[in-house]
């Protein structure tokens, strides 16, 4: 076994592992299924080639290609990574749109084949089918590329870069940003409503994955000194996907393992199969492909998570028994007048009247439930006496001529648990959606703390403290319960100059780590924000009795428990007003009562809740006032008992 053989093996392993890491990041973590992945590696390979080659006329004249600037090492490799990343940008068009997953995959596959066809046939660009050859190797002027030392050094460089890529990819994935990526993968609609910028996340995935693939192509080209379209057909993409699936999508070691097993493994295994003259020469390669196909299907059937499945992220709160470092609910000013715009927080000094975001790890020492907020009286007297925190004026919404909501005006007071009832088609969910901003109003206004938010999108309202939950299952199944809660914490820009336009929430803390830059900066950068968030999440989990499940996958919980997760997740954003869409639907009555109790105590601390619900018994016990709607308008308001006595309410339900 001579050393050139080992060099060959190691170098291919490094290059393939690097490519698989990029793909695992895109596909396994970000949920971006990019069947054109091979294009990025090819682009990088060609880029390195044309950067390193002398111009075609000076190169013997039998190859024809663009570029040829004869640039020294390491520019070809850097160029390879850059080109790989840049060429990924147009792909956001196909990948980001709401196109069916399999249609998008087909489109990307076709793109790969198309580009391969163009490269093969348009000779002036990249020398067509014959491809480029005699590509200069790094520093070949100074050192002899044919020596064993050179080859070993090149291999070592490849392995080192692969390790670098591994750590780079890990740093991104094991951060709050990585958590947002995985949330997007699990349920992009909900991630969107939590304020994650899907387009930016996907673009980042494509570009970083493209750059990694490009670099791998550049290294490969420097080693074999030749590159042709035959090296990157669509079959090669299938091999990479097979490697990632078999190794374990979403697990970076799995990606490396897959690279070793599939592209490299297959190559090596065939070396040891004895050839005989009776067998046709193409039999072994054909059977290799058959085997890869079988492995793909078998793994997807028996073990879709791969050999090394994605790790469960177990998060332990630092000090579960201690009081949280920040209150569950944001402290409110003691003013009983309608709220002005929330004061923007810039730096540590800017605070609104009373309270404000506590800095760092300062222990505030407040109790979670029924807390006395400094300078504020709990409850503040009768519901009618508290200030209006959410006001609706003549709100209306039409769907193709049908008035789902027809001129509704309401006042919701702080600290109340208001119920919203009505028969099917009354317009309750539509109204809720308009309050939350997930649906635009056709007419009317929504005033939140005195500010007109009618035109504000949902995630902006969420940052101001006006948050909703959803009726249907909306947890991130492959994130743990703790991670689900943490994912609700929005991004907060670091430093003194927030780049987020519009009103910056003064009391809603964020996580610096929820951006690409934040993730790359490393754990030290976002560690404090994360710890604060974890503490708050832990407090909520204890309050709702799910702390035993903190590290269970959300998808494994029962229906009622998942409801709780959703409510807790909404509470993580420290809302002022919580809009709940049928929170008790399908929930066991004792659990429903538990939820009601928790909401009541939170309301006593200043949270305002508006709840659409069909279980009218819940309204009886917990809600006051209750608003009854029918046919898009408000019929009456009062306690549930009062409403039951009102004939128009009864009629509305009976008429249906």
């Amino acid at each position: 076994m001579n050393s050139f053989y080992i060099i060959n093996l190691l170098l291919y392993a490094a290059v393939d592992a690097m490519a698989c890491l990029g793909l695992s990041q895109q596909f396994g973590v970000g949920g971006v299924t990019n069947f054109g992945f091979i294009i990025f590696q090819a682009a990088g390979g060609y880029a390195a080639a044309i950067l390193a080659l002398p111009s075609d006329s000076a190169n013997g004249g039998f190859q024809s290609y663009i570029g040829g600037w004869n640039l020294p090492f390491p520019i070809p490799w850097i160029g390879a990574a850059i080109v790989g990343g840049v060429i990924a940008l147009p792909f956001t068009f196909l990948v980001g749109r709401r196109l069916r997953g399999d249609f998008a995959a087909v489109g990307l596959l076709v793109t790969a084949v198309l580009l391969n066809l163009l490269a093969t046939n348009y000779r002036p660009a990249l020398n067509g089918a014959a491809g480029l050859s005699l590509i200069p190797q790094p520093l070949q002027g100074e050192y002899n590329p044919l020596t064993s030392n050179y080859q070993w050094t090149l291999t070592a460089a490849a392995i080192a870069l692969c390790a670098l890529v591994y750590f780079f990819v890990r740093r991104i994935t094991e951060s709050p940003y990585g958590r947002s990526l995985r949330a997007m993968r699990d349920n992009d609609v909900i991630a969107d409503s939590l304020g994650k910028n899907l387009l930016s996340l996907r673009t980042a995935m494509l570009v970083t994955g493209g750059a990694i693939a490009g670099l791998s192509g550049g290294i490969l080209v420097s080693y074999i000194t030749a590159f042709s379209p035959a090296a990157w057909g669509y079959a090669e993409t299938v091999v990479l996907f097979a490697a990632v699936i078999i190794g374990g999508a979403g697990n970076h070691l799995g990606a490396v393992l897959g690279a070793v097993l599939v592209p490299v493994g297959f190559e090596e295994v065939t070396r040891y199969i004895p050839t005989s003259n009776n067998l046709p020469p193409n039999l072994i390669p054909s059977l290799e492909w058959v085997a890869i196909g079988l492995l793909i299907v078998i793994f997807l059937w028996l073990r879709p998570q791969g050999i090394l499945p994605e790790r469960r992220r177990v998060i332990r709160a630092v000090a579960p028994a201690h009081p949280p470092e920040e209150p569950v609910l944001s402290p409110l000013p003691n003013d009983s007048a309608p709220q002005p715009h929330p004061a923007p927080t810039i730096g540590p000094a800017g605070q609104g009247p009373g309270g404000g975001r506590p800095a760092g790890r300062e222990v505030v020492g407040r109790e979670v439930v029924g807390q006395e907020v400094a300078g504020r009286e709990p409850g503040g007297g009768e519901p009618a006496g508290r200030e209006v925190v959410l006001q609706v004026i003549g709100l209306a919404r039409e769907f193709g001529g049908v008035k789902a909501v027809d001129g509704v005006s309401l006042e919701i007071r702080r600290g109340t648990l208001t119920g919203l009832i009505g028969p099917n088609g009354a317009g309750k969910s539509t109204l809720l959606a308009m309050l939350a901003g997930t649906l635009t109003a056709s007419a009317g206004q929504v005033l939140y703390q005195g500010q007109d938010v009618t035109r504000l999108p949902a995630y902006r309202r969420a940052r101001l403290g006006l948050v909703r939950t959803f009726q249907l299952a909306s947890e991130f199944k492959r994130l743990t319960v703790m991670e689900n809660l943490l994912s609700a914490v929005p991004y907060r820009p670091g430093g003194n100059h927030p780049r987020v336009p519009g009103p910056v929430p003064s009391e809603s803390p964020g996580n610096r780590g929820d951006s690409l830059r934040g993730a790359l900066a490393g754990r030290w950068y976002w560690r404090d924000d994360e710890a604060a968030a974890i503490a708050r999440a832990q407090a909520l989990l204890e309050q709702f009795g799910l702390d035993g499940h903190a590290n269970s996958y959300a998808g494994d919980l029962s229906g009622g428990q998942r409801r709780l997760v959703e409510i807790m997740r909404a509470l993580m954003t420290q809302p002022r007003v919580l809009l709940l869409d049928e929170p008790m639907a399908g929930v066991h009555p004792s659990l429903a009562r538990r939820i009601g109790d928790e909401l009541t105590s939170l309301a006593a601390s200043g949270l305002t809740v508006l709840m659409v619900e069909h279980e009218l018994a819940i309204m009886d016990e917990f809600c006051e006032p209750v608003i009854a709607m029918a046919d898009g308008t408000v019929l009456a308001e009062g306690t549930m008992a009062e409403l039951r006595r009102r004939s128009e309410v009864v009629e509305a339900y009976l008429v249906g």
Partner: protein, 241 residues
Amino acid sequence: MSAELRADGVTAGYGGDPVIRGITVRVEPGQVVSLVGANGSGKSTLLKSLVGVVRVSSGTVRIGEADVTNRPPEEVARAGVGYVPQVDDVFAPLTVRENLEMGGYLLPPRDVRARIDHVVGVFPRLGTMLSRLAGKLSGGERKMLAMGRVLMLDPAVVLLDEPTANLAPAIARSLLEDHVRGLASNGASVLVVEQRARAVLAISDRTYVLAGGEVRMEGTPAELSASPAFIESFLGGTVPR
């Protein structure tokens, strides 16, 4: 053909916690029995579990003597059950005539034409649009087509899931009084789920009130209207267990 519909102690759901528990309902030939209750009470789920679309975890469903519990929908249809779902109730890319033909799929081919004529007699509007695509019909016309499709087989049992949803009150009343009542007059056992409690009570022989996935009350319309508990249970007045 006529047969009694019996559901005994049916518990069903979509995997996970059951949506309906221990439901017992009986419909005799020639009767209209209605199922009312607030949204989320499990009415649609019950119908789906009767026709084999939702899995029954315990309890039985019988059509006459035949046990059709958890049989596939096509077998339940062959047992003489016609089902009009609440949504997706017609084949949108097929014409009205083709929809009716699909309704008569189990008929011998030579009877199909005659049956279509019969159905058009019941719903004359349909006769004017036999070549129109079902997806292009208005809401009321679609419901008519859906019911006409079910009529093709002259089923012994008819299950209707909120047939008047999204229909104007006058059309809704006519649908219930003329056509739903008419089905029973022809000998079918009709089970109709409705949100419009008042309207459906007017045509029912018996009514069950569902809340929280269970039967809370049952009785004739007269009995229920006279009972203060009816409104209570309908509006969920009693706190459960």
